[in-house]
Amino acid sequence: MWTGRTIIHVDMDCFYAAIEVREHPHLRGLPVAVGGRSSRRGVLTTANYEARKFGCRSAMPTFKALRLCPQLTVLPVRFELYRCESQRIREIFEGFTGLIEPLSLDEAYLDVSHLRSGGASVAAEIRARIFEETRLTASAGIGPNKFLAKVASDLNKPNGQFEIVPDEVDSFMTALPISKIWGVGKRTAERLQALGARTCGDLQRWGITTLTREFGKFGVELYHLCRGRDDRLVTPDRERKSVSNERTFAEDLEELGEALEKLDVILEELAVDLQLRHGGRRIAKSFVKLKFSDFQTTTAECAARALEPGAYAALLEEAWARRGRRTVRLIGAGVRFVPMGAPEQLEFPV
């Protein structure tokens, strides 16, 4: 009898775009994306499958997407609505298991090891419930660990599912291209291929020493992942460690004065977000992040107990001084929280 774990990775299909199409029925069947407007430096957040046929992808600059697909409808992002839908889906998950680890608004791991009906039928039921409630489709992957579940959810997308049963892990892994391993990006894949490994099966022939020599710590991970091994647990409600608000500008900033003005607006929004959604949390640190014209980022931070505009201005100046000749394309400001449940040092009541 199988006594291991059964993990489901649920991944909503083009979540934001799908919600918008549901809200705008006349767009059904047409290429639709959600993202920033093209005149500015906007990028696509999500594109539906019709738009993807034209080569439109998330994170692609909007103007580029419109060049590929002039009839593309680009709708503004409505996070509040997506958050609300995400919460409805989360409630469906809760009907099946308490072990839910959301990765973002549209993705989550579920540990359903305790359910007897088997991973595949649980996943099918969850997807059917989601569609019934929200008219949105989801894909799912079922496997004995998080890694395999995540790989599997990609295999029958959209509106499909795939199960990797423990007995099939070895044969499945042998054929799996190395690029499917998480953490293996374009560069690592190229390096692995140059070293003669195209599939996980190729990689399995390498010893752990060789892998660590080539890839350092990540080599150890590769050693296990290419065999389909992953023992990380599904951790429910992983605690939010920080909150930030950032802004990319239509034109790079060159003057500190201008940056300080932008910072004010960013801080106001951050303050609202903190108040509305993180009211109970204690603040440990403040930070300011800048992204320069060469896409390098830098962060300045300091200990803090509240949102002090003066402290943020000083952090901005500190980070600003690191820009050299570069201009600044993005400013972010945020707070790091004191971990929940950490003891609180009381202050004199003066």
């Binding site: 929940m340 449940g341 003891p343 609180e344 040092q345 009381l346 202050e347």
Partner: protein, 366 residues
Amino acid sequence: MKFKITKEKFIEGLQQVQHVVSTRTTLPILSNVLIRAKGGMVELTTTDLDVGVRGAVSADVDEDGITTLPARKLASIVKELPTSEILIEVNGNNIAAIKSGPSFFKILGLSRDEFPELPDFSGAQEIVLDQKLVKDGLKKTFYAISTDETRYVLNGVNWSFAGGKLTLVATDGRRLAMVDQDVEIPDLPTRDVIVPTKAINELQRLLTDAGQVRIRIGESQIAFELNGYLLTSKLIDGTFPNFRQVIPGAPRHRVTMDRSLLLETVKRVSLLTSDRTSSIKLVFTEDNIEIMANAPEVGEARESLPVSYKGEKMSIAFNPEFLMAPLRNLDSDEVHLDLIDEGSPGVLRINEPFLYVIMPMRVTGP
């Protein structure tokens, strides 16, 4: 300028003034020490514009003069010189030649014209105190100074000279250390002054157990004269919070403990705290305190201390560092800990004019 000086004398003088020199300064002259040779003495002055120190050491002065030289560089050279006798000669372009036995150094200085003057204290109020009393008082309070720059009035020690007492107080809003000593000073209409951290550190370096310190209080500056040194500092511009208000009323419980035993116990137990849970818990039961700590995913520590305690069972949590700081800086054998309840400030006292108020930590969750 030309003088002969012993290595020991020169090092001693440079060491007392060089700490004021800031490593990062936008004004190059502030990296330098002002050297004035005159009448058998070499006078050394440094400043960072907020805090300044001046001292003099004896030397054979062949030719009077004045210049400025890079303080840290000079100190590091003098420390390494091969013989005890040092000959220094500075020309009109502020270039110094340093000779000691076979070694020779040439150092480029800057004109004294750019060097900022130390503030003037004519007409300032004057108070003379025993150095030992001030030294002792600062040792018992300085560690509670706030390092949070946004609460700048707390970035120093508050000095109050009212009612025939010298009251020194430092606080960071979470703990407060106070020494309240009777002193013989004329009953002048003196105000409270807040002396910033850097000046407190320098003063502690200069204070000894004997002799007196002459304090002069100006409009926005303070000067301390002691053992041939002059220390001047800007005062913090602001009003120190009403510290008497945070001293709790009558305690419900008093426990008396051996100071060094308590310090060692807290030190040991706090090895098992983490950043996340930097608190230790003191659990009081009849004639016993159990001090404990735990660090998630690491482990836990506990240790019992026999005490005389007759009250009901009670527990209170503190930041261990806040509890250890006064224990390290006191020298009495015994300390008394006065408590009301787990949410109220505790007070650490000794049989001398000192008290330390410490806010507890609120522990939620498991």
